[in-house]
Structures are given as structure tokens and as C-alpha cells.
């Protein structure tokens, strides 16, 4: 169905972008059904639930009867999403036929005590952990075809994993080869922990894995924040964590470190350090916002605007105009000549700019002699 490759904003966009057949196959898996259901907007969830046992087409009009004037836009979004995900199928009478997305009895596997959050959380900094996780998983999934794996299988395995109980050991022998392979990668990411028994091996999902499906929905549980940023760029972090202190050090100048309080300042120098290390202004700002102390989190904005603006300005400061002596070529005789020339310039690393429509290009001045030589040869 979708030929255009959609840049998936989240997991479910990626699921929705799967070809029809694969998508339908995915729905054979209970976990996928559940995860899809949870990812839906509230109104869509309700529609799925109320049509669970309905096996005849329901007219779109009768669904609209329930909607108040205020809710029409939300209603449309919900219906569109359901059709996109093929939970609803449009029928010729312009009605929507609901499919049964999941069996109503979902068996939850053995749950037991959980304990190992810290193991996973250590490498995850700055961004919302789930968002980062998703960032990585997205890459992992989109690369799966290159590794010869079926992305649908991968998605279903990942989702299944997310419904496992945290901290519970699951025997590896229930898994197929592909899953085994994936699991090792996941262990590196901290999603699962592998445990070698005497005879058998086990894997223990961490909270990150079980949160995977949570990151699919908009609602996420948030931990309590600890950072207060003042309009004078000073920063107070009420934390005992060494990790927090280190994260702050990435972009702020830490001035005092008390047992439960870190006092610092955001300076141009400290930010340049961060930018050099590849941390973006947005990441810093969102870190400050996400970890805002409850006292300031109540306010909007939680981080003073002058501070966020300045952070962004300092970042853009780095993007300066650079002067490169160059030559401008135009009036090419034919498209072929133009393309040949631009390819030549590119291959030699001298192409600065090109406009294929108007057949114009700009090439580094150092290459001018070569270019002239090349163009003469073409004639």
C-alpha cells in the first residue's frame, strides 16, 4: 500500500507504514494487537472496544451520532488512524468494518518480583529515556532488512517483549534463532539481561523493555524532576546522583557540589563544550525541561525563556558564514554536459552548489583549472 517511505515519527507510524499483508500478519500476534490498541488516541480506543464483538459493518454516520460538535475533529483523527492501521476496513457502502484486533482473553505470563532498573538506565542521558530507546530501535528496525531479517518479525518480537514481566527470567529455548540474535543486541542496549544457567540460559527483561510499549503511547510516567534554572543562568540541581552531576557537567559549569545539591551556571564556554561533544541545544533544553524540579515544573515555561533562547542563540552562533573562493558556471550546452560537469566536480570534492533545473553550479576555486580542462575536453 504505502509506496512512499514515511519517516516514522513513532513506532506506530512505522507499523502503519508496513505493507498490508505484513500488517495483517502482525495482527495474528496478541501482543501486537495490544500494543496497537494502546497506541491509539483515546477516542479510537473507545471505538475499538465498543465494536469488539460487532461482526457487521457499522455505518460511519451511526458512529458520528455519538460525537458532539466539539469532538468532530478528534473523531476524524481517530477514525483515520484506525483505517490507516487497518483496524477498521472501509467497505463499499462507506461504512467501516471493524476487524477483531485481539482476543479478549489475554494471557499474561508469570509475573514475579522485579529488581533490576539501574542496570539499564546508566547509559541513557539527556533525552527522555523512552524517546532515546525508540530512536535506537527505529534505526535497528529500519536496518533489519539489510541484515536479512524481516522487520515484521522484529516488531512483533519487540512488542511481545514489552509485555513480559520485568525481572522475570524467561528461558531462551522458547526463542527462535532470529529472536536469539536480536536478543543479544538488546542485551547490549540494556533492554534485557542475559543469564547463563548451568544447562539453560535465561533472559530477564528490564524495565526498559517493558516500557517499550509505553513509549509508543503519548502518556508516559515521569520521574520527579530536580533541576531549577534561574533567569540569571544559574542552575540548582537537588540530586545525590553522581550521574546527574556528570550530565550537568556536560553543559554547565558546576560551582559547588554539596551532598544533595549541585550548584552551577550555564555559560557560553560550558555550552560550547557541549556543542563540541555533539550535544544539541534542543537536547539540553529538553533535559532541563523534563527534569524540572516540581516547584518550577508547575510554571510555564519551566525553564526561563531567556535561558532557552540564549542556549539556542549560542548554538546558532556556531553556524557562521564561511567564505570559500569559488567559480560559478552556467549556460551549459546540454543537460548531459551539465550533469557530467557536476558529477566531475562532486567526485573531486569541489562541488559547492548546484541547480540542475537552471543548469548552474558553483565549484571551489581551487578546482577551476581542472574544471576548465574537463569542460574543454567535453567540447
Amino acid at each position: 500500500m504505502p509506496q512512499v517511505r514515511i519517516i516514522a515519527k513513532n513506532f506506530m507510524d512505522m507499523v502503519a507504514a508496513l505493507p498490508e499483508l505484513k500488517l495483517d500478519k502482525l495482527y495474528e500476534n496478541t501482543f501486537i494487537c495490544e500494543a496497537v490498541l494502546r497506541s491509539l488516541p483515546p477516542l479510537a480506543k473507545k471505538y475499538v472496544l465498543q465494536l469488539l464483538f460487532i461482526d457487521a459493518p457499522v455505518t460511519a454516520k451511526s458512529m458520528e451520532e455519538w460525537v458532539l460538535a466539539d469532538g468532530l475533529s478528534k473523531h476524524r483523527v481517530a477514525i483515520d488512524r484506525l483505517i490507516q492501521l487497518r483496524v477498521f476496513l472501509e467497505t463499499t457502502e462507506s461504512g467501516a468494518l471493524p476487524r477483531e484486533p485481539m482476543p479478549s482473553n489475554i494471557t499474561v505470563r508469570l509475573p514475579t518480583l522485579e529488581e533490576l532498573d539501574v542496570y539499564a538506565l546508566e547509559q541513557w542521558e539527556l533525552m527522555d529515556t523512552n524517546a532515546q530507546l525508540w530512536y535506537i530501535m527505529r534505526e535497528y528496525i529500519s536496518n533489519s532488512e539489510d541484515r536479512g531479517e524481516d522487520p515484521a518479525d522484529l516488531i512483533s518480537f519487540l512488542l511481545e517483549l514489552s509485555f513480559h514481566a520485568t525481572g522475570q527470567a524467561y528461558n531462551l529455548n522458547t526463542l527462535i534463532d532470529v529472536q536469539m540474535h536480536t536478543l543479544k543486541d538488546l542485551a547490549d542496549l540494556g533492554l534485557v539481561k542475559l543469564q547463563q544457567g548451568r544447562k539453560e540460559s535465561w533472559f530477564i527483561p528490564t524495565k526498559l523493555a517493558t516500557n517499550l510499549s509505553m513509549s509508543l503511547t503519548d502518556s508516559s510516567a515521569r520521574k520527579e524532576g530536580f533541576v531549577v534554572v534561574e533567569t540569571n543562568f544559574r542552575l540548582y540541581a537537588y540530586s545525590t546522583s553522581k550521574l546527574h552531576s556528570e550530565i550537568l557537567r556536560l553543559f554547565a559549569r558546576v560551582e559547588y557540589q554539596l551532598p544533595n545539591l549541585i550548584v552551577g551556571a550555564i555559560t557560553k564556554e560550558s555550552l560550547y563544550n557541549a556543542f563540541e561533544n555533539g550535544i544539541t541545544a534542543e537536547q539540553i533544553i529538553s533535559f532541563l525541561q523534563q527534569n524540572a524540579h516540581p516547584r518550577v515544573a508547575e510554571r510555564t515555561p519551566s525553564v526561563p525563556e531567556n535561558v532557552t533562547d540564549q542556549i539556542r542563540l549560542w548554538e546558532t552562533d556556531l553556524n557562521r558564514v564561511e567564505i570559500t573562493p569559488a567559480h560559478f558556471y552556467d549556460e551549459f550546452l546540454s543537460k548531459d554536459v551539465f550533469e557530467g560537469a557536476s558529477d566531475y566536480a562532486r567526485e573531486n570534492g569541489g562541488l559547492l552548489w548546484e541547480d540542475s533545473k537552471k543548469m548552474r553550479l558553483v565549484v571551489n576555486a581551487e578546482m577551476h583549472a581542472q574544471m576548465r580542462e574537463y569542460l574543454r575536453r567535453q567540447k
Binding site: 469532538g71 523512552n130 502518556s219 515521569r222
Partner: protein, 304 residues
Amino acid sequence: MASVPSKLYSDDVSLVVVLLDTNPFLWTATATATTFTFPEFLAHVLSFLNSIILLNQLNQVVVIATGLNSCDYIFDSSAPSKVEPFESARMPLLYSRVLRRLEDFLGSDERSERSNGAAAAAAPSSLLSGSLSLALCYIQRVFRSGALHPQPRILCLQGSPDGPEQYVAVMNAIFSAQRSMVPIDSCVIGAQHSAFLQQASYITGGVYLKPPMLDGLFQYLSTIFATDLHSRSFLQLPKPVGVDFRASCFCHKKTIDMGYICSVCLSIFCKHHKKCSTCGSVFGQANPEAAAAATDRKRKAPEV
């Protein structure tokens, strides 16, 4: 990339406190009279509970049993699950937990019945006031747990007739729910309507419904009562016709528009009395003529 930081739970995260009517007489009576049995009821309700939890990872369900003599929490999805023997492969853990606790509850309810020695058959109404209070207590605790909590609502699955002796307690519970903005949804599964629940839903802004087809109970539950509070602002849900708040007098049970009200206990009378029959307050007006004149002007009972 980085998701927009959400300060609160998204609006559709719900805490549903379900009050189950476990009046044994209700279920044994329906067993003989109609086709809707207790096991069927349980099947519908359990599926509903499961659906709520399924809709959102953060959704929370609490079940309270409304017995004849006692009420108790039966299930709390947020409580840490103890290691329990996997009883049956036939049903999810939630189900078996609810069933087991329900069995326990019935046992203890019966025991307190015996110790009370009350003649249950005379007034086979379940303890709605008690379970409403339990629900509200739970919700208050959630409110106080911090800024981050799901949106609570109460769902009464009630089949027993109203217990008039619970009037004061039930009304108090209703008003306290109203104050804390907790809607009380009512799904009446008995033979007759419930004036209590009608008022409860009306006052708290919940939905009152008496499903005409009980074998489709789950459909009612999922279509109407599963709707989270956030979505309710976009949807049209069945509205009650309106509650007739006119009162009838205590003395003759006549519906009246104007009458005498005891200034102490708010009892209503259609005629002037010397003494309040409810609280025993004496209405001090010696001269009936003057009293009549005064009441004509003021149109209410004289001060005590």
C-alpha cells in the same frame, strides 16, 4: 525526536472503581426468573475490567464488593501482585484473582450475617453506602498521592433495591463525590430502577443506565462506561430524562410544591405540625392564628 515532555498523565488515564453488587438473593432470584446468571454477569464484568487495563498501561481498576452486611476491596490492579499459584490455564490471572477474593468475601459476608443475626430476607438491599464510601476513600488517597494521578470515576453495578435506611449515608457519599468531582456512573442490573443511583449520577455528572438487554451487558459497559472522562467531553452519552426533585411530604406521601420544612432535620410536611415526626423538635408557636399568618407570609415552618 525527544518526545514533548508531558507534565501530567495524558487526559485519558483512568482509575475506575467498580462496585459489584454481591447480594446473594439478587443472584439467586435472577437465576430462577431470567436467563442472566451470575457467571454470565461475572464474564461480562471481568472482560470489562480487562478492557480498561488493556486500554492504557497506566489505567487502574479497583473492585469493591457490595455485600449484604459488609463491603471490601476485591481487586486493585495497582497493588503489587503476590506470587500466586497459577490456578487455571483457562483464564487470565486477573480473573482468577478476582474470583478467589470474591469467594473469600462471600464467606466473610455470610459470617457477619450470622453474627449480626439480622433477618436479611426482610430487607435484601446491599450496602451501597458502605461501598461508595470505600470507593471515595480510595480515591481521596489517590488524590493525595501527588500531582500525578489517574482520573478517577466510580461505576456502580447495582441490582438490589435501594435501602431506604441508607438514605442519609448514601446522599452524603454522593455529595462528597460531587465535591471532589468524581462522577458516579450507574449501571442498574436489577429488575427495577434505583432512585439512589439516579440521583448519584445526576448530581455527580455520571451516566445512569438500566440496560434493557442484560445479555449484552458487556456491550453497554464497553460502549458507555468504558469511555474515559477526557473523551466524554467529545461524546454524547445517554442522558437521563432529568430527575424530578419534587418531594413528597413525610406525613401523607403526597407530592407537594410548597410545604413546611423542619428547620432542624429538613423533614417535609404538607400541613403544620406541632412536633417534627422525624427528629422530635417542637415547633414553638402557641397561637395558631398568628402562626398561620406568619407562615403565610414566610411560607416556611417557624423556628423551633
